[in-house]
Amino acid sequence: MTPSEIDTIIQRYEGKQSQILAILQDIQAKEKYLPREILQEVSQKTNIPLSHIFRLATFYNALSIKPRGRHKIDVCLGTACHVRGGDRIMNRLERYLGITKGETTKDKKFTLESVRCVGCCSLGPVVVIDGNVFGRLTQDKVIGLLKEFK
């Protein structure tokens, strides 16, 4: 992300300190996570202490300061998915990818995370890959899904 791109995002919210969450979300939408250098720049440009920005970046689940892979897998661990075997899907993915929740595969292809309900409870268990929701999954089906992502 270039300095001018960062400026554009900050300008979008008129540099308002109260809009810092939105600024961080927009940066993350582009970078997939929040790189330290960019946060430093945001801090300077908005006059918000870096410590506060880090506090927000670690407080909100949607934000990540760890680099992520090309594809983000979010396993839904809402209640409806849980009773229909959501954690089994998670375990299966952890074993298959050889990583645990929150980690990224060595080839930087997949990042495995969990999400607290995406509101598709009727279709549980559900997994979201790069923003696309896949429902009615089984341990088998979910592995088949991954093969479509390069």
Binding site: S18, Q25, F59, Y60, A80, C117, V118
Partner: protein
């Protein structure tokens, strides 16, 4: 174009009516998130392609969710003088069949779900009749909408427009009576009268706690200060509840209209909708709706020429459950971490940016236009003595019919689970229904005849919450459910109060011990004690209600806890460390499927073929990780779990 008068609004209504009921055939695809995740997007494309290819006189339309998520993708066809018909489970491959059969006055029998002869317009208390004159061939015997058991007992107020209108077209919302209540409020009622009407209606906050809405508005109106805010809580964090998502995706204007009316009654100039970042489609629909409302002069300066000015900002949440709490939500909008504060001073006096602020949930705002239009007398006749109106529940989990269900308050749990939900799949036994999300509890079978309202649910140790209703059967372990919620809460506790931060963590630890076979008899009492302290000594409702999942399961399912602790057994066969998988050699057909799916290669044996006799399969317990893949795969019930 800015709407200046009631005539302008009527003009738009006529435009909307032409959209809703065109002279051409109209095919609508339900494209809310639940529909999209089952392939509604591809179905929409396929129908579009087919129509373009054949240059057919058909309008292809998008709509929200009509509630029966399990049957998605849902497609409906409207044509003048014919019944409106709904297809279920449509796939792109069948798009052309669907279209051409209809053009041929026929229907696709195996996909047909129900037909409709009229639709209810609840805002004005009218029925829109389709004036059926001809029936497509083969439609006899198909149930009408009200005959489908899932819809039979429902009364749709909050979900009035979901699945009927295109949420991107404000005219369609207006056509079904939308924004007429705003007109009434601004030109025919004083702010105090509106508040009185809401008070009389008995509307209580749909976000969970059930605080009387009118009283909240009144205290915010009476608070001193020239600048005031109204806020909409769309941070639907309760896992298992998604009615707010559905309303925002299918009928965003209903919330906006409610907020404008509320702002006028309270005297607020600015509004915020705090919406979950996990709901990208809802955000998109809201953006469009807000922009349209601004263009038509329904938001902004001098609304409809009344002299009243109000605007709405959209704020995306950051994925923190605690931000559903009013003070945490406001802190979040101010650009701080979403931590609650003590409420010695109510937010209606000093909330967002220390200004008087009135926060209501999506469903609450959405009810407001209907109440103003139909009157509090009508509204307060629905429901129970102290809980008026309807409530939307998401009936999910181990139940046959899953989806969004809107019922009058006071209906029993049994009616919801069995009559609407169609009972438990696979002939299994009902065990409990969980309401209220992480703040609620599990209600056992003995209380199934409980009338559902705010107070009765609280009496039995659960709560209404935002309306999640997760049905559990005999294969759901109650210790595991309690552990699940404690895990959720320990992660989501903001950490401000020691009791909540540590209490949820310790409770989770103890429950983990129990579920892994290290439970001790004194653990149950310890859990009860910890629960009590957490509830009493935490600042906000997250901590205050956090022990409910533990306490309610101990209260109603103590035996199951004891089974785990004393006999090291999980009766529901869920807690993995307590399980043992075994293949019954006399039942094993030697098909070898289990060995194929076993990720640890822990199953050995020899597949039976025409030439070879085969050896029954066996699980190596040392290697078994108890993932349950073999159990799920075996078609012959040859695998036993202890």
């Amino acid at each position: 174009m800015r709407i200046q008068s009631k005539e302008d609004l009527e003009k738009l209504r006529n435009k909307g009516l032409k959209n809703l009921f065109p002279m051409k055939i109209k095919i609508s695809v339900g494209m809310a998130t639940c529909g999209l995740s089952t392939g509604a997007g591809k179905v929409y494309e396929a129908i579009n392609k087919e129509v373009e290819k054949g240059k057919l006189p058909i309008i292809v339309n998008q709509t929200g969710c009509i509630g029966f998520c399990q049957k998605e993708p849902l497609v409906d066809i409207f044509e003048q003088r014919k019944p409106r018909i709904f297809y279920q489970g449509v796939t792109p491959e069948r798009a052309s069949e669907l279209i051409y059969q209809w053009l041929d006055h026929k229907i696709v029998r195996d996909l047909l779900f129900f037909k409709m002869e009229s639709e209810d317009w609840v805002v004005e208390g009218k029925k829109w009749d389709y004036n059926i004159e001809c029936l497509p061939n083969g439609i006899d015997g198909t149930p009408y909408y009200h005959q489908v058991p899932f819809y039979n007992k429902q009364l749709k107020i909050a979900l009035r427009n979901c699945g009927y209108i295109n949420p991107d077209h404000i005219e369609e919302y207006i056509a079904r009576g939308g924004y007429f209540s705003l007109f009434k409020a601004l030109f025919e009622m004083k702010p105090e009268e509106i508040i009185e009407e809401i008070k009389q209606s008995g509307l209580r906050g749909r976000g969970g706690a059930g605080f009387p809405t009118g009283n909240k508005w009144e205290s915010c109106r009476k608070s001193k200060g020239s600048k005031k805010f109204v806020l909409c809580n769309a941070d639907e964090g309760d896992p298992g509840a998604y009615m707010d998502r559905s309303i925002l995706e299918g009928d965003p204007h209903s919330v906006i209209e409610g907020m404008i009316i509320g702002a006028y009654a309270i005297g607020a100039q600015e509004g915020f909708i705090y919406v979950r970042d996990e709901y990208p489609l809802a955000i998109q629909k809201l953006k469009i709706a807000i922009q349209q409302a601004q263009e038509y002069g329904l938001l902004g300066e001098n609304i409809l020429g009344s002299g009243f000015s109000f605007n709405i900002n959209l704020f995306r949440g950051g994925g923190a459950f605690v931000c559903g709490e009013s003070t945490a939500l406001m802190a979040s909008i101010e650009g701080k971490a979403g931590e609650p504060r003590a409420k010695h001073i109510h937010t209606t006096e000093s909330g967002l940016m220390d200004k008087p602020s009135n926060l209501n949930n999506v469903e609450t705002w959405n009810n407001v236009p209907v109440i103003l239009s139909r009157g509090s007398d009508w509204y307060s006749k629905i429901g129970t003595e102290r809980s008026k109106g309807t409530k939307v529940f998401s009936v999910v989990g181990k139940v046959n019919n899953t989806g969004l269900v809107e019922v009058p308050m006071g209906i029993t749990l049994r009616e919801i689970v069995y009559d609407i939900g169609g009972g438990i799949p696979g002939g299994k036994k009902f065990k409990a229904v969980q309401t209220g999300g992480p703040s609620g509890g599990c209600i056992p079978e003995s209380l199934l005849d409980l009338p559902v309202d705010f107070d009765r649910l609280t009496e039995v140790g659960s709560m209404m919450g935002s309306g999640g209703m997760i049905v559990m059967d005999e294969s759901t372990c109650m210790v595991d459910v309690a552990k699940y919620f404690m895990n959720f809460l320990k992660d989501e506790s903001c950490g401000k109060c020691t009791t909540c931060r540590e209490g949820t963590k310790r409770m989770h630890e103890i429950l983990t011990e129990i579920s892994e076979g290290r439970g001790k008899p004194e653990h149950i009492q310890l859990l009860e004690e910890l629960g009590w302290v957490t509830a009493e000594a935490s600042l906000c409702a997250l901590g205050g209600t956090a022990p409910n999942p533990v306490l309610s399961t101990i209260r109603y399912f103590r035996q199951e806890y004891e089974e785990h602790i004393l006999n090291k057994r999980c009766p529901a066969k869920v807690c993995r460390p307590l399980l043992r998988y075994r293949i019954l050699p006399e039942v094993c057909t030697m098909c070898g499927r289990c060995a194929k799916v076993c990720p640890e290669k822990a199953i050995s044996g020899k597949t039976k073929t025409k030439k070879e006799r085969g050896i029954p399969f066996k699980i190596d317990e040392q290697k078994c990780i108890k993932c349950g893949m073999c159990f799920d795969t075996c078609k012959f019930e040859a695998i036993e779990v202890d």
